[in-house]
Symmetry: C2
Subunit: 220 residues, 2 copies
């Protein structure tokens, strides 16, 4: 599991960082000591969200965040996924881009996976950002647990998928910055769809058991 | 997790029971004390496989197994999935049918999910068997661990999916017959695809970490 990558000084930008998942990740990475930049279409909302989290978290527009951060997490709603990434192609060139977007629909029976032309949100990101190093990760983290000050450790393995070994190693190490969390390599990007879609199953599990469920990988 | 269903006396038929996954499940259910019937297109091969497992396991043709067993597990290769189930529609009427088939392709880069017209193998089973109660489960069990006499407990949660509560409760209870295993409700049948496809990711995990990986659901 453990990967030999030092990610302590890496700055982390979070596009769509004003949503619950983005804020939760920002909070945990800031607690771990990494510089964190929250991005939003609205610079003002980004600053408000950053102030709400506190610590060293700063807020800025998505474009500034994409340009300044070492590693960029995509936590935007699925609806704006393609357009937002297309607009940031230049800023994201050469960078590790971590896609944690789950394309899901909801109806009376709960959540279900939406079809994605490219196969998955992560593959769409890779198609739109051919000069970035796209990694899929952080799909199953519970925003509730990440944001809860009573939760010291999060009982979860983060599946990390990608085709660039150095990039997946880096993201595994980043996942390990959150107490309790392990980053586990989970396959190539072409197998990202089912990891994204599995969030629908977690939502079913949470409803049935009134839980904030996650997954652990056994025997690794 | 625990479901109030007594499945001790239930007889379990396993179509395609001469494959490793079928044999592994047969072995564990027989050890748990359930009557087990292994099915194959060839009655002779089914009898040989049953004799190889020992205990009270019996072998027969798929048709006999489908007709006689209380609950039927579908562990046949994906290639013959639709045709085999179509040929057993009458025998499977009214029964709980547990589909554990993973439609996967393989190439130099490893395993990947195959597209399925109905969405998933389990949904195809439900479409072909409208008068059966189809449940998806046992996708991620390692045949190696199930067959290993040194492995007393299997460190794994079995995700159980289906639209019939009584049927999913029964299958959860059956999963719990294998020492170490919990049966966890994992959503409706329409969310079975990602659970089947996730087996491709487990294969990647196993390659990277030289493991027999599975999943545990946290916080339930």
């Amino acid at each position: 599991m453990s990967v030999d990558v030092d990610v302590r000084g890496i700055s982390i930008g979070i596009l769509g960082g004003t949503g619950d998942q983005g804020k939760g990740l920002a909070r945990r990475f800031a607690l771990a000591g990494n510089p964190v930049l929250i991005g939003s279409r609205s610079e003002e909302r980004a600053r408000e969200a950053a102030a709400g989290i506190g610590g060293s978290v700063r807020g800025a527009g998505n474009q500034t965040v994409a340009a300044e951060a070492d590693v960029v997490i995509v936590a935007i709603p699925w609806e704006g996924h393609r357009a937002t990434l297309e607009s940031l192609r230049a800023e994201l060139t050469g960078k590790i881009v971590i896609d944690c977007v789950n394309p899901l629909g909801f109806d009376k029976q709960g959540a279900y996976a939406l079809p994605v032309e490219e196969g998955s949100a992560a593959q769409q990101a890779a198609a739109v950002l051919p000069d970035s190093r796209v990694v899929a990760a952080f799909h199953h983290v519970s925003a509730v647990l990440l944001l809860d000050p009573e939760v010291a450790e999060v009982d979860l393995d983060v599946l990390v998928l990608g085709d660039d070994r150095e990039a997946t190693d880096t993201v595994q190490a980043l996942a390990g910055r959150i107490p309790g969390v392990r980053g586990v390599y989970g396959g190539r990007l072409r197998n990202a769809h089912q990891v994204e879609a599995l969030t629908a199953n977690l939502i079913s599990v949470n409803r049935r058991y009134k839980a904030h469920a996650g997954f652990r990988v056994t025997d690794v």
